[in-house]
């Protein structure tokens, strides 16, 4: 391990800073998208949808399947890039959203009203079941469950800015798509009737139902929206990192949950802020931990950092940075 002390270390640190920031922002947007699924469901039901990480992976698998089907049909080079991307993203979002709805109907709704831990245990079971369910499906269908995304020529490029900073088009895609979605979500939740219904149920389901809000349908809708956001994150994750397996959801899922708690669970802007913070923190840990500790601890500790943040935030500030917006009566 070469010694990187003093000014040389600082030079290197400054030189790679823009790249680290970019990596952190890309990660942050993905965590934010996944965290929204956790936080919205927690808002209306007060329960951790542990299987959300598998909804995310499902999105990545739908994405790769659509691309592989297009490839085998020979359409990957003939169709317009925007059409391909739109097709992949929309299919991934819709299927993930529907899967999340089905999950709620089958594994959670029968348990609502009982102790909270019962539903959490069922959600953990659903998470494990879906992991191996995906594995089973892909094993029978493709005879392997480690899938690689086909290369998309039109986004497999880099835009060089300086010697130290190249912006991959993939990163731009993630950032732009996520930004549009987050703005869209903000409008949906705050300006539309359905969004108002979601907020009403989150605030007080009993009163909301007295006011004529169909609570069960709103819960299903919340699962659909959260699942679709998770599916979008999955597709973007797949395109960005080019590979996916049924078990690749656990760690991003836990980090996104951390992000949701960091921002204050149930709090939609909080999830975005938390996701971004966690993404940046992880990118910094991955790049600078080794520099800071003189090579003793390296990038392999980036997951530990995220989990430590989770533990510390839960112990010292369980309401999160922006405050949780969960009703007190049931908590």
């Amino acid at each position: 391990m070469p010694s990187l002390k003093g000014s040389i270390g600082l030079d290197i640190a400054l030189e790679i800073l823009p790249q680290v920031l970019l990596d952190g922002i890309v990660l942050g947007f993905m965590y934010a998208l996944i965290a929204l699924g956790y936080t919205m469901v927690y808002g209306v039901l007060e329960f951790i949808n542990f299987a959300h990480s598998e909804i995310f992976v499902l999105g990545a698998f739908v994405g790769v399947e659509v691309l592989l089907l297009l490839e085998s049909a020979g359409q990957l080079s003939t169709l317009h890039p925007a059409v391909i991307l739109l097709l992949v993203i929309v299919t991934g979002m819709v299927i993930s959203g529907l899967a999340a709805m089905a999950l709620e109907r089958i594994a959670y709704r029968p348990l609502m009203g009982g102790p909270r831990l019962v539903a959490l245990i069922s959600a953990i079971g659903a998470s494990f079941f879906l992991q191996d369910g995906l594995r089973l499906f892909e094993s029978l269908w493709r005879n392997t469950f480690y899938l690689n995304y086909p290369t998309l020529e039109f986004i497999d490029k880099n835009i060089p800015i300086t010697a130290a900073l190249v912006i991959p088009v993939k990163s731009l895609l993630v950032i732009i798509t996520a930004l549009f979605t987050l703005v869209g979500l903000h409008i949906f939740v705050n300006k539309t009737k359905m969004g108002t219904a979601i907020r009403a149920v989150a605030q007080d389901p009993d009163t909301a139902s007295l006011m004529g809000v169909p609570v069960n349908r709103v819960i299903a809708l919340t699962f659909f929206v959260g699942g679709a956001l998770g599916g979008l994150a999955g597709v973007l994750f797949g395109i960005h990192y080019s590979m996916v397996n049924p078990y690749s959801g656990f760690v991003p899922g836990m980090k996104a949950f951390t992000a949701a708690v960091l921002g204050g669970i149930g709090n939609i802007p909080g999830a975005m802020v938390g996701g971004m913070l966690l993404g940046l923190l992880e990118a910094f840990a991955a790049s600078y931990l080794s520099l800071m500790t003189d090579g003793a601890f390296g990038a392999e500790y980036k997951d530990v950092v995220a989990f430590l943040v989770l533990i510390l935030i839960l112990i010292f500030r369980p309401r999160g940075l922006l405050g949780e917006t969960v009703r007190e009566s049931k908590a």
Binding site: I48, R116, G125, F128, Q131, S139, F307, L310, I315
Partner: protein
């Protein structure tokens, strides 16, 4: 039915199934029948005394005899024993105190690495002097030590997290286990404490202190066979001790305090139950069981690496507790046995059978699908690799249809 008749019937069943297992050592089914005898005994309408005598006969005499014919049976029994001990430990935390611990395997890992590091030459890497591996006699010292270490780490984890509400506590324990696993995985530098993903081997086995006595009686058993019998009895002893301790705790002041906290924490505080201290105690007792079994596990495996201590193992143990019934000691035993048999024997047996079909290349003629050649079955499709699906199904189905478990505790039954 009169009692002697029941006992005779049971004996006939046990002898019959043992003979089957003896003459068909390859048959999974025959051994399952033997294992089923204990379940049968549990439900048999006989006095407790008769049950204990018959049960110890099966466990202390028949199983070791079968095992000396086919060591695989003992291997299965030892695995079951390890999981029974883990499930009983988790049952204290989840079942009695009512705290969902999703990182239980971390304590198991700590125990395993405790003995692995000092019971193998590995510790020489960071403690100079060449003292290691410690002599086998130290095994028992470490077994005792692990109980202390487990209780301490359990309390250490418990101290900050116990004021969290239920679901957050579950997630923090999960995070704790992941941190422990990441540390074990990466602490091969700067100081090589755990040897990272390469794992540690060879780990010392417990001492064969009784060998001279056996030789005195003219019994000359090969070391390999002796060790598998030895581990079997050791695990049986540990499980026995754990069962006794758990039962005594359950019916004590402490056990009643735990259940009071589980049912209604606020009411428990009002009644003067020292909630935090009792929760800590629950965490510590459960963790010390897991830690002690970890030491045994390391000695039995000879080689361990972080792969054995994943989140999946934690959930597997949780599935065992929930299948049997939270808070029920017979339930935890049944759950652990059932799930382990399912994973180690049934699914593996199914995998082997499918492989056989695949290699035979037989062709099935199905009415709608046409001819289906079995040789074309995807090679990826192996039921033994789908443990997670099994655990997941157990958790969902039990929560929806029978949350009190297969063998509910007395309180649950009275509800």
């Amino acid at each position: 039915m009169s009692q002697p008749l029941v006992i005779i019937g049971f004996c006939v069943y046990v002898v019959g199934s043992c003979l089957l297992a003896y003459f068909f050592p390859q048959s999974v089914l025959a051994f399952l029948l033997v294992e089923g005898s204990l379940l049968l005994l549990y439900y048999a309408p006989a006095s407790d005394m008769a049950k204990i005598i018959l049960g110890s006969l099966v466990l202390l005499v028949l199983l070791p005899l079968l095992g000396s014919v086919n060591a695989y049976y003992l291997e299965i029994a030892v695995q079951i024993g390890i999981f029974v001990a883990l499930a009983l430990g988790l049952n204290i935390v989840v079942g009695f105190v009512g705290l969902l611990n999703l990182g239980f395997v971390a304590f198991f890992a700590i125990g395993a690495y405790l003995w692995a590091i000092f019971g193998s030459p590995h510790a020489n890497q960071f403690i100079p002097g060449g003292f290691f591996p410690l002599s086998p006699n130290w095994f028992f010292v470490f077994l005792i030590l692990s109980i202390v270490v487990g209780a301490l780490t359990g309390a250490l984890l418990g101290l900050p997290v116990l004021r969290l509400r239920g679901d957050y506590l579950a997630i923090v324990t999960l995070g704790f286990a992941e941190v422990v696993r990441a540390l074990v995985n990466n602490l091969d530098k700067p100081i090589n404490l755990t040897n990272g993903p390469r794992g540690i081997a060879p780990i010392g086995k417990p001492p064969l202190f009784f060998k001279p006595w056996l030789e005195f009686f003219g019994l000359d058993i090969a070391d390999g066979k002796l060790y598998s019998l030895y581990f079997y009895f050791l695990v049986l002893l540990i499980v026995f001790v754990i069962i006794v301790v758990t039962r005594r705790l359950e019916n004590s002041r402490i056990g009643r305090a735990w259940k009071a906290i589980r049912e209604d924490e606020i009411a428990a505080v009002a009644m003067g139950v020292p909630v935090v201290r009792m929760k800590l105690l629950g965490f510590a007792v459960g963790a010390s069981f897991a830690c002690a079994v970890g030491v045994l596990f390391a000695a039995k495996q000879v080689f361990i690496n972080p792969e054995s201590f994943t989140f999946m193992e934690s959930i597997g143990v949780l599935a065992m507790v929930i299948l049997g019934g939270m808070g029920s000691i017979p339930g935890a035993i049944l759950g652990a046995t059932g799930v382990t048999i399912l994973n180690l024997q049934l699914l593996k047996g199914l995998s082997l059978w499918l492989n056989g079909l695949r290699q035979s290349g037989a062709v099935l003629s199905l009415p709608l699908l046409g001819d289906l050649s079995l040789a074309n079955l995807p090679a990826q499709f192996e039921p033994a690799k789908y443990e997670r699906m099994v655990f997941g199904l157990i958790l969902i189905l039990m929560m929806i249809f029978r949350p009190q478990g297969v063998l509910p505790s007395k309180q649950e039954r009275q509800k």
